[in-house]
């Protein structure tokens, strides 16, 4: 039986068939036919963001929390340009997002029509792939393909730009295409796997280096199995936090610019680095020539272009990291590796992460730990970008893959609140905490009203130092204490702002019992802003100065 449907109706039906149940966006002239069709869908819940960047980060929050591709929508022109930052962020952190944008009718493309912008051209360098759809028929191929591309190989964002006349074009449909699903890459090279196993078995001082790819591939369990079987001390990138519980006996936590001293010193001594789903980012390696100077390198990544990009691998394996680790595991021999682990334990004892004032709930680490005490591992922890982000990365006991949502590669202030809303929409059974700063929250503060409208279970912990803290820190340390444009002279009353947006708010500064006020705020369902002033003089330490080797950390 055939039915006659417009391009817009086809697009929505294809999203339903993909399993999309929630999407975020903002309508506008050039995407109104799609919104008209979306309004008729009884399956898809549309979340009305207040800025397209918010919609983009909500989709990211859904995708990061679940691993499924998530959708955001915007109209042409400013709608599309407002999405770009969230799309670029998804590209750098390899997050499967499908962005659908309206475009002016095909006959008007290239005429500088109202709200016309070259969305296709603008999105080329920040998407994994992009489409400008030429006919309603093409949607049947493009939309499933967009999901397949977003999810397959190294995940990433895909943009589909749909001109308004294509949305309105009616065609007859007899058959629907299969939904786009993740395609598996070819299996890992057997010879390389056995070579890697032999190198691990022969290594005296190996370290396992986990990146975000381990989380994306669902390989955290097998990575921990490998670490335990061969007793491999394990470091994680910012993106991989949670892949191995930080309090696991083999965990050395986060490496790099703000890693603990013991972590970077252990890397300095290792003779074999097993990089899995990691890309040797400059914030992780510091000065590359001095990174793991004694080590041979095994590099496993689904993206062949990552192998040998920064560091030449002795064994490079382009494969799905879960498949590769599962095949590696039986070939790696059990080994207590007492000498090396004793040395690593010494380093941990002598050079631990310094966390002052843990028992003070209004100190930065104390606040983070008090929040952790109120929650279990089922909670999702999102952050914005800045000092608070690094302190949470250093201090929060992350124990579960996909527990941790943070903007790593692009480092986008404004990520936290909408990403947390997205995570809460996708996983309503979880409590979602968003740690943010007074600089970051203002970059997408408008989404507080979206949180109120959707009544999401999001607790925003605002660490307020009335400054752009990391800028303040760098100016203090590296620019002769010439503080400029890093301290806010006027600051909003965030409690009133939150209440004005319609969400509950509590100020720990004035609470008679801050601990009790915090616990109560977290336990109460629904959105809540928790405000706490922190000391602007506090720094993120230790720190590797820009351009320095990781061994040359400053600060405690």
């Amino acid at each position: 039986m055939t039915e006659t449907l417009t391009g817009a109706q086809i697009a929505i039906r294809l999203l339903e068939r993909q399993g999309v149940r929630t999407l975020a966006g903002i309508p506008g002239g050039a995407i109104l036919p799609i919104y008209d069709a979306l309004g008729q869908s009884s399956i898809i819940h549309h979340v009305l963001a207040r800025h397209e960047q918010g919609a983009g980060f909500m989709a990211q929050g859904m995708a990061r929390a679940t691993g499924q591709a998530a959708v955001c929508m915007a109209s042409s022109g400013p709608g599309a340009t407002n999405l770009l930052t969230a799309i670029a962020d998804a590209k750098l952190d390899s997050i499967p997002v499908v962005a659908i944008t309206g475009q002016v009718p095909r006959a008007m493309i290239g005429t500088d029509a109202f709200q016309e912008v070259d969305t296709y051209g603008l999105s080329i360098p920040i998407t994994k792939h992009n489409f400008l759809v030429n006919s309603a028929e093409e949607l049947l191929e493009v939309i499933p393909r967009a999901f397949e591309i977003a999810l397959s190989g190294r995940p990433g964002p895909v943009l589909v730009d749909i001109p308004k006349d294509v949305q309105m074009q009616p065609i007859e449909i007899a058959d629907w295409p299969a939904p786009g699903v993740r395609q598996m890459p070819p299996p890992a090279d057997a010879l390389a796997i056995s070579e890697a196993a032999a190198m691990i078995n022969a290594a005296k001082r190996p370290i396992l280096y986990l990146g975000g790819g381990v989380v994306h591939a669902g390989a955290a369990t097998v990575a921990v199995d490998l670490a335990e079987k061969a007793n491999l001390p394990t470091v994680m990138t910012l993106m991989a936090l949670g892949a191995m519980p930080v309090d696991h006996r083999l965990s050395l936590g986060m490496l790099g610019m703000h890693g603990a001293r013991c972590t970077n010193l252990a890397l300095d001594e290792c003779d074999l680095l097993i990089a899995v789903g990691a890309r040797f980012d400059d914030r992780a390696t510091g000065k590359v020539a001095a990174f793991c100077p004694q080590a041979k390198i095994i590099h496993i990544d689904i993206d062949a272009a990552e192998l040998d990009k920064i560091k030449t691998a002795h064994v490079g394996i382009a494969a799905d990291v879960q498949e590769a680790l599962e095949r590696l595991l039986p070939l790696v021999s059990e080994n207590a590796r007492r000498e090396w682990n004793t040395r690593v334990d010494e380093l941990k004892r002598d050079f631990p992460q310094h966390m002052p004032d843990l028992d003070q709930p209004l100190s930065h680490f104390g606040l983070i730990r008090t929040v952790a005490v109120c929650l279990d591992d089922e909670a999702v922890i999102a952050t914005d970008v800045g000092q608070h982000q690094m302190w949470v990365a250093q201090g929060y006991p992350l124990r579960r893959p996909r527990q941790w949502l943070t903007s790593g590669g692009l480092g986008t202030m404004g990520f936290g609140v909408p990403a947390a809303i997205g995570a809460a929409l996708a996983e309503p059974q979880r409590t979602v905490v968003c740690f943010t700063g007074d600089g970051s929250i203002l970059m997408n503060i408008q989404e507080l009203v979206t949180a109120a409208e959707e009544n999401v279970n999001v607790k925003i912990v605002l660490m307020d130092n009335a400054s752009l803290g990391l800028v303040h820190q760098q100016q203090t340390l590296f620019y002769g204490e010439r503080l400029f444009a890093s301290q806010f002279k006027a600051t909003p009353d965030f409690v009133k702002v939150a209440q004005g947006f319609g969400i509950a708010a509590v100020d720990l500064d004035t609470a008679a019992n801050p601990c009790a006020a915090l616990m109560e705020a977290i336990a109460r369902p629904g959105p809540c802003l928790i405000h706490a002033s922190i000391d602007v003089q506090q720094k993120v330490f230790p720190m590797v100065p820009p351009g320095a080797a990781n061994r040359d950390m400053i600060g405690a």
Partner: protein, 103 residues
């Protein structure tokens, strides 16, 4: 494209890349964008459809420098790139065109 930078001045040799791509608007931007964003100058570009026109072949003349293997890997990742092959600079495709480029 971009002005020649120090990396490229140091490059003595050139290479010719032969890239099979799907033929639709935007593919050239995807391929060339990989070079321009890295300030990697493209010295020559030639592109024509192949066979029934569903595919095209792009020939690029580029300076050979240390980044070329990474460039090729990045190009291989593009959805619309079917295959990429590397040739020496003396490949006939550009040398036979020289008559059209006399000052």
């Amino acid at each position: 494209m971009n002005a020649i930078n120090r990396n490229e001045q140091r490059a003595l040799a050139r290479a010719v890349l032969e890239i099979d791509v799907n033929n639709h608007p935007g593919v050239m931007s995807h391929v060339i964008g990989l070079f321009s964003r890295r300030t990697y100058n493209v010295e020559g570009i030639l592109c024509l459809p192949v066979g029934d026109g569903s595919c095209s072949r792009i020939w690029l003349l580029v300076n050979e420098d240390a980044r070329l293997p990474q460039m090729m890997k990045q190009a291989e990742k593009l959805e619309d790139v079917i295959a990429i092959r590397r040739h020496h600079a003396d490949h006939a495709v550009f040398s036979e065109l020289e008559d059209f480029f006399r000052p």
